[in-house]
Amino acid sequence: MSYYVELNAVSKIFSVGSSVIEDFTNAMKHHDTKEKYSKEKVAVNQVTLKLHEGECLGIIGRNGAGKSTLLRMITGITKPTSGKIHVNGKVTSILTLGIGLREELSGRENIYVDGEINGKSRAEVDKVIDEVIAFAELDKFIDYPLRTYSTGMKARLAFSMITYIDPEILIIDETLSVGDALFSAKATARILEICKRGKIVILVSHGMSAINDICNRCIYLKDGSVIMDGRPEAVTKAYIDEVKSEDEAALMVRFGSHVGNQTLVPGYMIEKPVMLTGETLLKAIRIESAQKFLIRIVAKFPYETNDLMCCVRIIRLDELILFQRDFNVVDYFSSSGEHCLELEFPILHLRPAVYRLDVELRERSVVNKLIYARSSSIFEVYSLSRPAGGQPMLYYPVSIKVNLI
């Protein structure tokens, strides 16, 4: 007999009223009709999934994507509104921390009670109890009542006892993030061991590294539907990219209000800067990292004076200024508009991200600088190759030589 979990077009729809009174009036109104409440939330939408022995499934998705609801249905805590779930094997789950633990009993007593619930005899629990206690690192606390435990200690106890009571299908919701770094490393190793013995593990986490380390399969849930299913590395990358692009889209909207040209004193103006890579004019404002990058700035002003400065800034989305220079307008521009300033970055070292380019025409004075005109635009740097390890601020070349001494 092999263990499996099979979900067939499973959906879960919650009806949501906003108050007790509304729920009540809804129930009164609709009790004789087949019609359901007007407000519904589809938490899980037509999910079909089959898990085989030895699979460790990671589930990722934004908050509210239906991850927890899906787990609850597999566990059997709630029933699906439609669809079928077949589970072969006993499901053990750590869904919400501390649920199922009895506050008045000591840690040790809790382990015995849980063992009994999971169909183990006292003798069987006796065999593993020392390991459980050692794993949970509770020391003297193991004989104290559970209500004296901190959240992290409860999490450790719950995790330890469940993984040692030899689960067939193990479901874990976000528990690994509660323990500290040392404990979560141990927990990861423990889960891998369970997977190796051919058991099924389902894990929900916001920690992408945990998913990549532990799981051999991963699904991405969005608005209750599975939108991606595959190797964890590929799925987590797609998820992170999407979260980032949504993030950036939101920031672009915020930046949108800054973007544009503005004349503050009549007669002064900065045209939208022209950006080029090498010799080609950029149509889209996307620049490949480590290429030649040119910015051409055209300004209009009524007469040439030493008092006028052109300030150019490149700003990262988190407002960090990466480039800032002031240029004497008379040196680079002519009031006829015939000449303009060209900035060349022989190799663009900025790491892939969205940046803002601000150009200002302003008075030279140090205090209370009067701004005559400004212009802001956005550009994006991308890279086809990503360096291993961290994401440095700059992709700056370092040459390394080795000599024998």
Binding site: V16, G17, S18, S19, V20, K41, R62, N63, G64, T69, T96, E104, S106, Y144, P145, R147, S150, T151, G152, M153, E174, V178, A181, H206, I240, V243, D247, R296, I321, L322, F323, Q324, F327, D331, Y332, F333, G337, E338, C340, L341, E342, L343, E344, F345, P346, H349, P387, G389, G390, P392, M393, L394, Y396, S399, I400, K401, V402, N403, L404, I405
Partner: protein
């Protein structure tokens, strides 16, 4: 007298009675009461939180972090010592422990804000702001018990930080929610801090401590084992095993401090010894560590093969037109041995980091990017 302090505690201890059986009979008549065990969660803790600063507290599970935060927030009374706060405290204790799940998000927010003394005329705008920040949309008018844990976390954070309070007590909050929401929480905490708020952040996420706190404490078994600059606190908390460095190592001639000039070519010569045969790779990173503001890698080199055979080598890192502005940087060197984990590392996280001091002309940008400026005729295609 404490005009520059927002919150302080001195000589605070907290002892809990561990009662094995909690029933009326045993409380009234049992002999066990007298012999019931004591558990000292905190022992003689003194902490001062200056105005406008966030103090970080790092510690493993069960070290007493949450107990300390609750003492500071007046949820527990100390067994000994005293706690005093100068200002209104907004506590974000273990998320959501305090709310009635039958309230809707909006009702919860209204209750909280009224309790905090927000005037009715301001209420509507603050509520809109909370709804917007928490991204709950229509769920804002649904009951909290229908929320997922992440949605609830978003609500609690948005509500607790919607208003500028004097003191924030934060327990692990920044680790809740997805990356997108975390980034928003960061930005908000920073704004509150800039506007003069103070606080205590309890966490085991050391990057958060580096980014928000200048000073941090490490708590172990109810006492502070380290109090000081947050980078040193992180080193003390991480207690990373020292690199064994028997297979390949940086030799003792390695300098602790290197100097370079901004905009000029930088050479760093590193003596390396390979002891056991095997491919040894060397690389470096230059990081900026402004505690309380941020920690970021600026330059990360590729991994370069030093050699396969034992011997003494000199590795030279060369960076042309050094793009760093004047200041002190953390220089980290790594030696990886292909067949053994006994390589060597010099990094601030191990407490053996090197310093790179860059001199030169000051700049008002974060880095110095090489460029050429010229004037061109606008007709150029």
């Amino acid at each position: 007298m404490h005009s520059n302090l927002a919150l302080y505690c001195s000589g605070v201890s907290k002892t809990f009675y561990i009662q094995r059986k909690l029933n009326l009979w045993s409380i009234l008549f049992s002999q066990e009461q007298k012999s019931s065990q004591l558990f000292q969660a905190l022992h003689d803790i003194s902490l001062e939180v200056p105005r406008g600063k966030i103090i970080g507290i790092l510690g493993r599970n069960g070290a007493g972090k949450s107990t300390l935060l609750r003492l500071l927030g007046n949820i527990y009374t100390p067994t000994r010592g005293n706690v005093e706060a100068f200002g209104i405290i907004a506590g974000l204790f273990e998320l959501g422990g305090t709310s009635n799940p039958n309230l809707t998000g909006r009702e919860y927010a209204i209750r909280y804000l009224r309790y905090m003394g927000v005037l009715t005329k301001n209420l509507a705008s603050v509520l809109d702001e909370i709804k917007d920040f928490s991204e709950l949309a229509e769920a804002f008018d649904q009951r909290i018990r229908t929320y997922s844990s992440g949605m609830a976390a978003r609500l609690y954070f948005a509500v607790a930080t919607a208003y500028q309070h004097d003191i924030y007590l934060i327990d692990e909050i920044l680790s809740v929610g997805d990356e997108h929401f975390q980034a928003k929480c960061w930005r908000r905490m920073r704004t509150r801090l800039l506007n003069g708020a103070s606080g205590v952040l309890v966490t085991h996420d050391w990057v958060a401590i580096l980014n928000l706190c200048e000073t941090a404490c490490v708590i172990e078994d109810g006492t502070f084992s380290y109090v000081g600059p947050s980078d040193k606190a992180v080193v003390s908390y991480l207690q990373l095993p020292k690199p064994i460095a028997t297979a390949a190592r940086f030799t003792t001639e390695l300098q602790d401090e290197y100097r370079a000039r901004s905009g000029e070519t930088m050479h760093i010569k590193v003596p390396v010894e390979i002891v056991e045969p095997g491919s040894v790779f060397c690389f470096l990173s230059i990081e900026v560590l402004n505690i309380g503001i941020g920690w970021e890698i600026i330059i990360l080199s590729d991994q370069k093969l030093v050699h396969d055979l034992p011997g003494h080598y000199e590795v030279t890192f060369e960076i042309a037109n050094l793009p760093l502005i004047p200041g002190t940087y953390s220089l980290n060197l790594f030696l990886k041995h292909s067949t053994s984990d006994k390589g060597d590392t010099r990094s601030w996280t191990y407490g053996n980091g090197l310093r790179l001091i860059v001199d030169g002309e000051m700049s008002n940008s974060a880095v110095r990017i090489p460029f050429i400026a010229r004037t061109v005729s606008r007709e150029v295609k």
